[in-house]
Subunit: 438 residues, 2 copies
């Protein structure tokens, strides 16, 4: 017979997406969103910093005055007006006419997530290798797993991706007879690590990829959220060929509208539009008009400044609290922008195993394992500072430090049941929270 039962399909699909079902973040959100929990787990912007009255007025007019356009279908690539505004936004980062940026080569997407998914859909075949920082954005791992691609992580240090490690990874993939399709990188205020690739390394990474014939997918949601002066120009500002530049208005305006974009090499722009049409027909005309009008009529540069100031204060609150309260042996990154700090725990602590006890102590974070395709990361955690106010951040760190001290004490009393590696392996397959959570 030609067909199969629903059960067959379900089993088959379950095998295909096994990697995705273990996402710690999904399970976590349900409990972390309780009001009594200090959540350092999210990645949400502080929307209350927007001038909501004025935004609301603008949104209302888009319906009452321009409804016949904004509530109607649009074109797959996105409106020219928005693509022009996007070029204006990118020019702030040095991606301008001189570097070959043009509204013609911008494709408007449903947030940065669809941007990445479209690129993956264009290029990835099952079994292909993607190089990515380790740790990397959890949503990118979801895209690569859905494409049945293998992720090979490249280590970072405080200066971002390590060029020598990238060269080594390329060589090893090649030696093993596999095919690396591209480097996926978040060079600026990396999620989750909070580090930024230095000027000098940007050139070296680009040279290495160029020599290896490797495309670069540059994901840059945070580049305009720098707190401490100059931010290195994006990779795309340095090379017009071979770099796909992905960004979003989710961090600089509002994620609820789901508007992102790709600046694509001209040769594939049309393919991306066709792929996007197959996926969503067209991006929301209303959401596009909202972003366009926001960028045309409202003080968006001032709003960026506001977001930066709010987040700088919160980053400082987080760093100070970590310094004051964390047990010895804990280390963390000191991001110059963005939304996240990456903390490394004292030897032997396991962020995933500790999670149920942290939730019981009313604090949440994302365990480091969520950011690796290979089960690593249990000795680390991601801490968000964009959403909770400074005093809540400090309270969260106080609770977290308490849990960690308890863990350390328990380990000293009962001893370790196995080496850290053995324990990590054992827990990587489980995604049911422990009994403490109930």
């Amino acid at each position: 017979m030609t067909g199969t039962t629903l059960d067959d399909y379900t089993d088959r699909y379950a095998r295909r997406v096994r990697g995705m079902t273990a996402s710690e973040i999904r399970a976590l959100f349900a409990v972390a969103s309780r009001p009594e929990v200090v959540s350092l787990a999210g990645g949400a912007p502080y929307i209350a910093a927007l001038p909501l009255d004025a935004v609301g007025e603008m949104l209302g007019r888009l319906g009452s005055e321009d409804g016949v356009t904004t509530l109607q279908y649009g074109i797959g690539q996105g409106t020219l007006e928005l693509r022009e505004r996007i070029c204006e936004v990118m020019s702030l980062s040095g991606i301008d006419v001189g570097s070959g940026a043009s509204p013609e080569d911008v494709v408007v997407t449903v947030g940065g997530q669809q941007a990445l998914d479209l690129v993956a859909r264009l290029f990835l075949d099952p079994g292909d290798v993607v190089l990515a920082e380790g740790p990397t954005y959890v949503g990118a791992l979801g895209v690569f797993q859905a494409a049945q691609a293998q992720v090979v992580h490249v280590p970072m240090d405080e200066d971002g991706l390590v060029p020598e490690a990238l060269e080594l990874a390329i060589a090893e993939v090649s030696k093993s007879g596999r095919r690396a399709k591209f480097l996926y990188t978040i060079p600026t205020f990396q999620n989750p690590a909070g580090v930024t690739l230095t000027e000098e390394r940007r050139e070296r990474v680009l040279d290495i990829c160029e020599r290896a014939g490797l495309l670069v997918i540059e994901d840059d949601p945070y580049g305009q959220l720098g707190f401490d002066g100059d931010v290195p120009a994006p990779l795309r500002a340095r090379r017009r060929d071979g770099v796909f530049y992905l960004s979003t208005f989710s961090k600089t305006f509002a994620p609820g509208l789901r508007v992102g974009w790709i600046l694509a090499p001209h040769a594939v722009r049309d393919k991306l539009v066709i792929a996007s049409e197959a996926q969503i027909l067209c991006p929301s005309a209303y959401a596009q008009a909202a972003v366009t009008t926001y960028l045309s009529t409202m003080p968006w540069r001032e709003q960026l400044k506001t977001y930066r100031e709010v987040y700088r204060e919160r980053r400082d609150a987080l760093l100070t609290a970590l310094q004051d309260l964390m047990p010895p042996g804990t280390t963390w990154t000191r991001p110059g922008g963005g939304l996240f700090v990456w903390a490394s725990l004292p030897d032997g602590l396991d962020s995933k195993a500790m999670m149920p006890r942290a939730i019981a102590a009313r604090v949440a974070y994302v365990p480091g394992t969520g950011f690796y395709a290979d089960g690593n990361g249990a000795g680390h955690m991601r801490l968000n500072f964009s959403f909770p106010p400074p005093d809540r951040i400090r309270e969260g760190v106080r609770r977290l430090a308490g849990v960690m001290e308890q863990e350390i004490a328990m380990r000293q009393v009962f001893g370790a049941i196995g080496g850290p590696t053995g324990r990590r392996r054992g827990q990587a397959g489980s995604d049911t929270p422990g009994p403490d959570l109930a």
Copy 2:
């Protein structure tokens, strides 16, 4: 080496999506949208029939009063509030608690297009066969081509899909050693054919699919736009297992918000959510709040009635104009709802070849070839009646009849250059409009 050049990728992808690049509709939109052209080519609802002042006021409040929620991230499945409203909407069509419909099994999507793409993404592997009506929705062909699946068309008559033809198609696919994954069907006010599957055939089609172990993907964007009394209940109202039900607010409210949904068999609901998260992270919280509030606080049932009345008048205008003006040998369907009439041209006329001359005569339609995966359809065209007002519809048909009469006269003077099949084949590969278009 592990990598390849951008050109390699582009070539490879061009091969993969070759079927999609020929979409007549894309090329058409640019010219058909000129104001002097009467476009019978679109599929757009008549948004001006909405109470735009009230909708605008509602949209404004969603920003100013609820912005911290509506402009923020949401969850992948969509809000419970909207999924409850969606169940209310479906219950109007007989998909209710009794047929196992629950907010738990609804997944909110970016329009009906993402709904279909997600199902394809879950189930289709390259080379798989999809059964679909011939002709069928052009956007569905885009999805199946992107998934590298083969579409086998099943003929319709005025009572919709022909059950005997479905059985035959299933047997032939099986005999050829290929694997049919599902039947994709638009049973009610079909796009583009405008026909509706009768009550009796609905049961037979479901029985045939059940016996063959074939899933059914029921696409139902138009079911609530019936003009002439009772509409047969959806397939999903008759079977709770084995049917995926897809719909959208694009035709009953506003396509610019991009909100659709899937009612999925419980066993795969979670897989759809995970696949959607990989694709778009989450649907727009703002757009979801807009639809929820529209359905909770505004007279949406009255609005449905308004849309039905507007479209019935326009359908009547189209049918009358066709009756009065079309050259002999032309036939067409008489839809009881929806947005489209399917017209069959006098022997020897080719709707695709004629298109440039139609545009020169300031009228646009979609050539029938756009709705077939196999190059068929040149003897047909799709005519939309939802967007242009009645007098423009009549003027469009008058222009179209003039072009057709000219074509017929030319054929009589110069004779046919080849049989209709030969001519169709020759033109199927071309997507540049002729010189008359300039």
